[in-house]
Structures are given as structure tokens and as C-alpha cells.
């Protein structure tokens, strides 16, 4: 089994699926000749041609809207928006058109497309290159949202997303792109959208997160006393998210900390905490806690590390939840 990083896993998966399904078309800024600014689509234009791997004009709304049309016309487009901060111009097309088409045509027309978007902070990039907008797109009905944290998960989730009959936003944590490698099976496999992953089983507290924060949580676990038993859950899918996994875990542990990079207010942590109190109220031993980005603009990089939840902040919240 080859050892791949996240970039390589997505690249090889795209190639594999393009080989299998001729309807797949990649489009976006710099995805062709340059192989994408993160090299995720490297070599694909040379292999599959400029008709299937398209260097588009610099127009996010155009990329998204044209991808919707391609999907309606029988193709399986995979538009790339270069950074999550540039989703802004494409927002209308994504939420008001991709997300609504099936519903407004009462199922007559669907939009099967996978929107690939580099996501999140931690790489000291310029302004609007480090945001975490997963809650925004989750709030809009009709769009699925996934955030794989490892190369192996990325492959299974990407194949599931591409084969999904509805639009899926596939957020790729930039911080993980080249920082983590693991063995990725060469054969075809999917990971169902909406299925969380148990990273470590535990009995004292549930730690729920996704994306690059999985690694920050693992670092926090290293610093906790050995007799603290933490159940770490990587949500992987944000919309729909695995309510059963969360509820069952909290029913067992009675305590929960949710960690995400995005701002706290109206972030996914709020939704998860609400589901927990709705479904596991009498199991709770402590208030659910959120360790998140602050309710500020993601700062320029000099303060980036102070903005992002750190292992230290996570550890502290876990200890305080345990001490409640």
C-alpha cells in the first residue's frame, strides 16, 4: 500500500475516478497547466487533456455557476475554488442554485458536483486564505459538507462525494496537505458521507472535532494525565454529521468538548452542543464546552497561532470539564 500525503491522495483519487467515469470534468483557476496552486491536480491535464481539466477564467461565480450547468447537462463537474476565502463571489451560485435545484424542481433536476476547496488556517497565508466556513454552507439546506483530516479518509470521502447525486463541498485542510502521510489503499472504496470516525475510544470525556484540529486534539491528549480516558471523534462529515456517534459517545462519557477552527458564535460547535442537550440531557455531567477560533476576523499570520485553538487551550477545557 503506498504511503501518501493528503495532496497525493486527492490527486490519485481524482485520476482513478476520471479514468473510471468519463463524465468527470475538473475546472478552476490554475488547475490545469500549473496543477493547482497546491499541486493537487498536478499532471491531470497532461493525462486527461485540456477539455477535462480546464484552466478557467478568474471568476469564482462563473466556475460555480458553469459547474452547475455542466452537472445539469449530464457531466460530473469538480470545480475548484482556490481558497475558501474566495468562495464569496460563488456563494450565490452555490447556496441559491446548487443547493436549491433539486428541491425547486421537486426532484426533476439534480446538481451532482463536488466543489473542492482548500480550507482552514495554519500555513501563514495572506488575508482570506485561512478561513473555516464549514458552518456557513452547512446552514444552507441542500449542500453536503465534508472535511477529511487524513489521506485515507480523503480518498473514501472524495469518491463518495463524486458519486453522490447532490452537491458536496469538499474542504481540504491546507495545514494537513503535506504534514501527514499514511498508507492509502489502492483499491476503490468509499466512506459514507455522514459517518464519523472514532480516533480513540475513551470513557471520561468526548472530544469532537474535524480537519486539522484532529491533530491539535491528539497533541492535547499527549499532555493529559495517563488515567484520563478521552474519546476522540473525527466528525469528517459536517453536513450531515453523525449525530448517533456523538450522542452515543456523550451518553457514555457524560462530558464533551467540541473543537473547531471557525469562530465560536453560530459555529458548528453550537449545533453539536444543542443536539447533545436535546438527545443526551440526563447523561450530561458537565456543560458542553467549545474550544474554537475567536469571534474575530482570522488575523494576519503574526497572530494566527494565537487565534487557532491550541493543544494547551484544548487540554485546559478538557481538564475543566473533567473537574466539573
Amino acid at each position: 500500500m503506498p504511503e501518501l500525503n493528503l495532496v497525493q491522495a486527492i490527486n490519485t483519487t481524482l485520476a482513478q475516478e476520471m479514468e473510471r467515469d468519463e463524465r468527470l470534468v475538473l475546472l478552476g483557476e490554475d488547475v490545469g497547466a500549473n496543477g493547482g496552486v497546491f499541486r493537487v491536480t498536478e499532471g491531470l491535464q497532461a493525462r486527461f487533456g485540456a477539455e477535462r481539466v480546464v484552466d478557467s477564467p478568474l471568476d469564482e461565480s462563473g466556475i460555480m455557476g458553469a459547474a452547475i450547468g455542466l452537472a445539469m447537462g449530464g457531466m460530473r463537474p469538480i470545480p475548484e475554488i482556490q481558497f475558501e476565502g474566495f468562495l464569496g463571489p460563488a456563494y450565490d451560485q452555490l447556496v441559491n442554485h446548487a443547493g436549491r435545484m433539486r428541491n425547486r424542481t421537486r426532484g426533476a433536476i439534480a446538481v451532482p458536483m463536488t466543489v473542492r476547496v482548500p480550507w482552514g488556517g495554519g500555513i501563514h497565508a495572506p488575508e482570506l486564505h485561512s478561513d473555516s466556513p464549514e458552518a456557513i454552507y452547512t446552514h444552507h439546506p441542500g449542500i453536503k459538507v465534508v472535511v477529511p483530516s487524513t489521506p485515507r479518509d480523503a480518498k473514501g470521502l472524495l469518491l463518495a462525494a463524486i458519486r453522490d447525486p447532490d452537491p458536496v463541498v469538499f474542504f481540504e485542510p491546507k495545514r494537513v496537505y503535506r504534514s501527514y502521510k499514511e498508507e492509502v489503499p489502492e483499491e476503490d472504496y468509499t466512506i459514507p458521507i455522514g459517518q464519523a470516525k472514532m480516533v480513540s475510544e475513551g470513557t471520561d470525556v468526548s472530544l469532537i472535532t474535524w480537519g486539522s484540529m484532529v491533530f491539535e486534539c491528539l497533541a492535547a491528549l499527549d499532555n493529559l494525565p495517563e488515567d484520563v480516558s478521552v474519546e476522540l471523534i473525527d466528525l469528517r462529515s459536517i453536513n450531515p454529521f453523525d449525530r448517533d456517534a456523538v450522542i452515543q459517545s456523550v451518553q457514555k462519557t457524560g462530558r464533551c468538548v467540541v473543537v473547531h477552527e471557525a469562530a465560536k458564535t453560530a459555529g458548528m460547535g453550537a449545533e453539536i452542543a444543542t443536539v447533545i442537550q436535546e438527545e443526551a440531557f440526563l447523561h450530561l455531567q458537565a456543560p458542553v464546552q467549545r474550544v474554537t477560533g475567536f469571534d474575530t476576523i482570522m488575523p494576519y499570520y503574526k497572530l494566527e497561532n494565537e487565534y487557532l485553538p491550541s493543544a494547551k487551550r484544548i487540554q485546559e477545557a478538557v481538564e475543566q470539564v473533567l473537574a466539573y
Binding site: 497547466a33 482570506l128 467549545r290 497572530l303
Partner: protein
């Protein structure tokens, strides 16, 4: 009913100073004096030096991603001198550093910005400059709004916005052009067509022969100029500004130039364009041709050049020292500028640097003292 032509158009290209430093005297009449040319040459040289220093800072880990301006300096300085500092607005993208400096922005602000410090965007009072715009093509609309405000307030200023060829593909470009045209605002659209939007060449950006012709659809005077020629840039911008001030509305300038460097320090242009192409544009470098012109007119010498190089080195070293001497911002800085008054929850986050509630609220019940916990 016979078919009749209802609209005809042409796009003119203007060059006044050619690659060899030869001037079209007729077109150059009433443009730049020798003294001004020397000044612009100095500004371009200082900007180029800062660019090279910035590149090295990034490579040595002392600065984040940086987009070099190299090769495009004539656009910035030629336009800046045609506009009135403190009266006219500059609404830049991120490849117009020299224009911002000429209109009063302290040079270390640009470094601060790319060093990941928002204070690099804290434009000093009295300057009519908007901060660098990172997302492509969003800021032209702001220039239109600023120009509109000046029109409503009967001020004499114009707004000049700079953007690249790629930006003309964005939907907001259409909105900006259309608003400017229909409201007849005093706005100059200055397109630095540097041939490449990261790796995407101009031909992929639009199927049109020129970018200048896009303006025709909005009823706007438009032309193409040699963007590496300070005379042509000056004249086109000055004419557009005069027209705007006289109530003639917006104008469009497509300046043909070239990005000699990578898109940013995170890019490697060798992956997608040929060395031959880059070399052919090096011959059109605005610094080289301006120097040739000055030499032709006996306004320049090797001695002056080495003095200028020395001065540029000194100035940029000082700028780097200033930028690096500024302490990292306090974490409060993230919170304090979101609103004029900070809301309570935000203040709490600022003061505790925490988002979880336990241990932050003294009145909260249930938290055991450390050591009392059953689990630990």
C-alpha cells in the same frame, strides 16, 4: 429594411517612449519634464530595490508570501504622477507599490502587510489610499462608490483603481463598469494587463482581442497603452483624470505590461511560461528604457546611477529595519477593531483568550477546585 451599422469602434494603442528610449516628440508634448522623468526613474528604482529585498526576506523566513511588482513599475509611477496626491483616490490591487509610496504611504507599511501584520493596512490620516486588495477584482466597485461620493459631494477628486487582466473576468468587474458608466462617476479603471493571472495566460482569460474593448459595452472612453512607458501611462491617466474632473465620467485604460517575477513568492512561473517569453519582456523593462531616455538627453550618468543605487539600498534597509522593529501585535489587536465598541462576549474572549466558559466566569457553579476532581 436594409441592414445598417449601428455601432462601430476601434481601439487605439499609444506608445510614446519605445524600448530603445526613443521618444515620440509630438505625442510627448506637454507630458513629463526631464525633472519629472528623473523623479519617476528614481521611484521605480527604489521600488524595484524594495521588491528584491522583500523577495530575500521571504526566502529567508523573515516575511510571508510576497507579490513582486517587478516589470510593472511604470504603470504605478506614471499614473501616480498624473493624479493629485491628497485629492484623488488610489484604489489598488497589490502590484502598485510605487504609486502608493508616491501618494504618501510609508514604505514599511507594505512590508508590514506581507509580514502578516494588519497595521500595514492602517492608512495614515489624510492619505486617499485604500488598503491592498487580496481577493481579485472586488475593489473596483469600491472605487466606483468613492468616485460617486466625490461627485455627490461636489469634490474635484477622481478615483483610480488598479487591477489585472484576470480581474476583468470577475462578475464584480462588470458591476463596477456598469455602475461607473450609468452614474458617470469620476473613476479611472486602470487595467495592468501583465499577460498572466498566476498561470493562466491572457488568451484564456478572454476570447476578445483586447481588454480595452470591454469598456465599449459600458459607453466608456477606452484605450490601450504601453504600460512600460511612463509617458504613455502619464498621458492616458492625465487625460482620463482631466475628463473625469470636467464631468466626463469614467475612462478605461488597458496597459500592456509584464509580470517579470512569479505571481508571488509561493509561485514558480517556470512551470507554465517559457524563458524565451520572459527574456523578450526583459528587453522592454521600463527601468531600462527610461534610463536610456535620460542618457540620450544627457540627464543621467553612471555616477548618478551608482548614487541612486546606493540611496535605494539605504532607503530600503531603513524600511526593513523599521518594519522588523515593530513588535508583534498584542492579541487584543484581533478584537479591538471589529466594531467601534466591543460587544461583551467579544471582550470576554479578548480578556481571557478562551472560548470555553468553565473557569472563565467566576459566578459559574459546579466547578471543583483543582485536585478535587474525581477523574484526575
Amino acid at each position: 429594411m436594409p441592414i445598417r451599422t449601428v455601432y462601430k469602434a476601434q481601439i487605439d494603442h499609444m506608445q510614446i517612449l519605445d524600448e530603445d528610449g526613443k521618444l515620440d516628440e509630438k505625442l510627448a508634448k506637454n507630458t513629463l519634464t526631464d525633472e519629472q522623468v528623473v523623479h519617476l526613474y528614481e521611484q521605480m528604482t527604489i521600488c524595484r530595490t524594495l521588491d528584491e529585498v522583500a523577495f530575500k526576506l521571504q526566502r529567508s523566513g523573515r516575511m510571508g508570501t510576497y507579490p513582486q511588482n517587478k516589470g510593472q513599475e511604470a504603470n504605478a509611477v506614471g499614473a501616480a504622477i498624473a493624479l493629485e496626491k491628497g485629492t484623488d483616490w488610489l484604489v489598488p490591487c497589490y502590484r502598485e507599490n510605487a504609486a502608493l509610496f508616491m501618494h504618501g504611504l510609508p514604505m514599511h507599511y507594505i512590508l508590514l502587510h506581507w509580514m502578516g501584520d494588519e497595521r500595514g493596512n492602517q492608512i495614515p490620516d489624510g492619505l486617499k489610499i485604500t488598503p491592498l486588495s487580496i481577493p481579485i477584482g472586488t475593489h473596483m466597485l469600491h472605487a466606483v462608490g468613492i468616485a460617486w461620493a466625490m461627485k455627490l459631494r461636489k469634490e474635484r477628486g477622481v478615483a483610480c483603481t488598479f487591477f489585472g487582466d484576470g480581474a476583468t473576468s470577475e462578475g464584480d468587474f462588470h458591476g463596477a463598469m456598469n455602475f461607473a458608466g450609468t452614474q458617470q462617476v469620476p473613476c479611472i479603471f486602470y487595467c495592468q494587463n501583465n499577460q498572466w493571472a498566476i498561470s493562466v495566460p491572457r488568451e484564456i482569460q478572454t476570447a476578445g482581442e483586447t481588454i480595452a474593448q470591454k469598456a465599449l459595452g459600458y459607453g466608456m472612453p477606452t484605450m490601450q497603452v504601453d504600460g512600460n512607458d511612463i509617458f504613455a501611462v502619464y498621458k492616458a491617466t492625465k487625460d482620463a483624470a482631466d475628463r473625469a474632473r470636467a464631468g466626463g465620467g469614467p475612462s478605461f485604460i488597458e496597459a500592456i505590461t509584464y509580470r517579470l517575477g512569479d505571481h508571488t513568492t509561493a509561485d514558480d512561473a517556470k512551470r507554465y511560461r517559457s524563458a524565451e517569453e520572459v527574456d523578450s519582456w526583459k528587453l522592454k523593462d521600463p527601468l531600462i528604457r527610461t534610463r536610456k531616455y535620460l542618457e540620450r538627453k544627457d540627464q543621467w550618468s553612471d555616477k548618478k546611477q551608482s548614487e541612486l543605487d546606493e540611496r535605494a539600498k539605504k532607503i530600503t534597509a531603513e524600511v526593513v529595519k523599521t518594519a522588523e522593529g515593530i513588535e508583534k501585535p498584542h492579541t487584543d489587536d484581533m478584537f479591538n477593531h471589529l466594531f467601534s465598541e466591543i460587544p461583551a462576549e467579544l471582550r470576554r474572549q479578548r480578556d481571557t483568550l478562551r472560548t470555553h466558559s468553565l473557569g472563565q466566569e467566576p459566578g459559574q457553579v459546579g466547578l471543583r477546585a483543582p485536585g478535587q476532581a474525581e477523574h484526575v
